[in-house]
């Protein structure tokens, strides 16, 4: 799954401005997370049209980028997130970041950026996990 990543300087109105551009292009945000440091933030978005979103942001002077992430389906039971991470950990794969993904189904889901995407997909599949693709969400 493609994620739209946006570099934001830590100043008033930058997040608002990025979101305004997406709104004007009629781009729907499914999920998001913001990582913050003292000087800048990284806005990570799952949207219905990443290409259009990226182009709109680039045109307005933002640094925007598409990254590959995986969206893992998680049953609503105790320990399912742990089991997924345990599969990654056993395979020696590091998690760069993760956040919750909003879905229309009654399953839970997370977006993961693993250190090794293919290895992560394999380890999770072997552990019985399934994935969302773009089409499942919008």
């Amino acid at each position: 799954m493609k994620q739209l990543s946006v570099f934001l300087e830590n100043r008033e109105g930058r997040l608002e401005e990025a979101l305004r551009i997406l709104k004007e292009k009629n781009i729907n945000i499914i999920s998001m997370s913001v990582a913050d440091t003292a000087e800048y933030g990284m806005l990570r978005l799952i949207v219905n049209d990443v290409e259009a979103g990226r182009e709109a942001l680039l045109n307005d002077g933002f640094s925007a980028h598409l990254s590959d992430v995986i969206a893992v389906r998680l049953p609503h039971v105790v320990g399912s997130l742990h089991d997924a991470l345990s599969a990654l950990s056993r395979a020696g794969i590091n998690v760069e970041y993760l956040y919750a993904l909003c879905t229309k189904t009654d399953e839970a889901a997370i977006v993961i950026k693993p250190s090794d995407r293919e290895g992560a997909a394999k380890a999770l599949t072997e552990a019985g996990f399934k994935f969302f693709t773009d089409g499942d969400l919008f």
Binding site: Q3, S63, H65, E96
Partner: protein
């Protein structure tokens, strides 16, 4: 007090005779010993015989930092390496350092010049001098050190870095004079005030240099520390600190004119200018053996006065510096060119991203922040990667300029752009 009255107070006529003799010898030596200079002189159709006195100096070609770069490292040395007893180096305009070499006699003359300067600042035998310039390739530390020793003072080779330790020694050793950058001295003053230790110091004078400062700053140092503060000037290409210094009347800096012949030129037309007219300072070394330089363009903007000073010295005086005719910055006493930052960024990333240098002074210490626009090719959605990038940029720049920098990533197209020549420096320090 005057250290060397026979030289510092000689009549202008006598001085001109001495300068003439020494110039003729210098020109003869560089022509015969330095191929680069011989060619440079041949290019303008000059032979040593054409220089019969100081009045002929304007016939000689100029020397710039580029000449030193082109002959890196030792190409302009006029003696065999076996005669060179020391080298120093400072920043060049691009990656390469400017290397200077000294014979034993050069080192002695340098010490003599620094001794003259320190005497102007009221320092002498019996004083305890703390040298708080950096020791090493930079000329400040060792230059002041040898001068103070030559003077017969007790030298504490403190170097820079640990202000608390410096203050402890200043108190315990009964330090009476200090040599350091003016901004560092203000930082020391502030620390002394905060720790309530002002009453315990015996400091009476300071010889400050290696960076531009204002008369207001000088008076502030004098007032806060209850000492006398003097301005010492120099540049490694010519010698190091001690080329000029101001006496107790503070009416400009007395040049050690029997060793360094000053001219002021128009930096655009390169025509010599008269006394009191502001322009670029140019020096010809008159006694240097290791690295004699003809008409070296310092890029420092000032003016010269030949009026007799109340102190009795007859030497020409340069006024406080009014800036630079190039884009060199002096940050914590270190020469920094924007082109060095550019070269470092280029080396790291293949092409130069948009960047801006922000120079400021926080608690009397200079700070350098380099803002770099996050372009597509630097982009990562991982904070760890961005932080690695920041560190890598900082390391590369630090290796290039020898100064710690703070690197800040900014959004693309947020740094100001200028038509034609882009501006890469915002200097928020107040000097002038």
């Amino acid at each position: 007090m005057i250290w060397n009255e026979s030289k510092e107070c000689m009549s202008r006529d006598e001085l001109m005779n001495l300068q003439s003799k020494r110039l003729v010898k210098t020109v003869d030596r560089v022509y015969h010993n330095v191929e680069y200079y011989r060619k440079k002189m041949q290019n303008v159709g000059i032979e040593p015989g054409d220089i019969r006195g100081i009045e002929d100096i304007h016939k000689l070609p100029y020397t710039t930092k580029d000449d030193l770069r082109d002959t890196y490292p030792f190409g302009l040395f006029a003696t065999p390496m076996s005669e060179i007893v020391r080298v120093h180096a400072s920043s060049g305009t691009t990656g390469k350092a400017t290397v200077v070499g000294y014979t034993r006699r050069d080192i002695d003359i340098w010490a003599e010049c620094v001794a003259r300067a320190m005497t102007m600042a009221g320092v002498g035998r019996g004083d305890v001098v703390q040298v708080a310039y950096g020791y090493g390739l930079f000329t400040g530390g060792l230059g002041a050190h040898y001068g103070a020793e030559h003077l017969g003072a007790t030298v504490v080779p403190q170097s820079t870095g640990n202000t608390k330790k410096l203050i402890t020694m200043m108190i315990d050793f009964g330090v009476t004079a200090i040599a350091c950058t003016p901004s560092y001295l203000l930082h020391i003053a502030e620390t002394l005030e905060n720790e309530n230790l002002l009453g315990q110091i015996k400091l009476k004078s300071a010889v400050c240099g290696a960076e531009p400062w204002t008369e207001a700053m000088r008076l502030q140092i004098e007032d806060r520390l209850k000492i006398k503060a003097h301005d010492i000037y120099g540049l490694s290409e010519i010698m190091g600190p001690g080329v000029a210094c101001d006496c107790e009347f503070h009416q400009g800096l007395h040049i050690a004119e029997d060793h360094f012949y000053p001219e002021i030129i128009d930096p655009e037309t390169l025509e010599p200018l008269d006394a009191h007219q502001p322009g670029e300072l140019v020096f010809t070394t008159l006694t240097k053996e290791g690295l004699p330089l003809l008409r070296y363009r310092t890029k420092d903007l000032t003016s010269i006065s030949y009026d007799k000073c109340e102190c009795g010295r007859t030497s020409a005086r340069i006024s406080r510096f009014k800036g630079r005719s190039d884009d060199m910055l002096i940050i914590r006493g270190v020469n920094v060119f924007p082109s060095q930052i550019e070269a470092a960024l280029l080396e790291m990333s293949g092409t130069t991203p948009h960047y801006m240098m922000i120079v400021d002074r926080v608690n009397n210490l200079d700070t350098l922040e380099v803002q770099v626009e996050v372009e597509e090719r630097f982009f990562s959605d991982e904070i760890r990667e961005l932080e690695n990038l920041t560190k890598q940029i900082a390391r590369t720049i630090q290796m290039a300029i020898g100064l710690a920098v703070k690197v800040k990533l900014v959004e693309p197209k947020t740094l100001e752009r200028f038509e034609g020549k882009s501006k890469h420096v915002i200097d928020n320090r107040k000097f002038l």
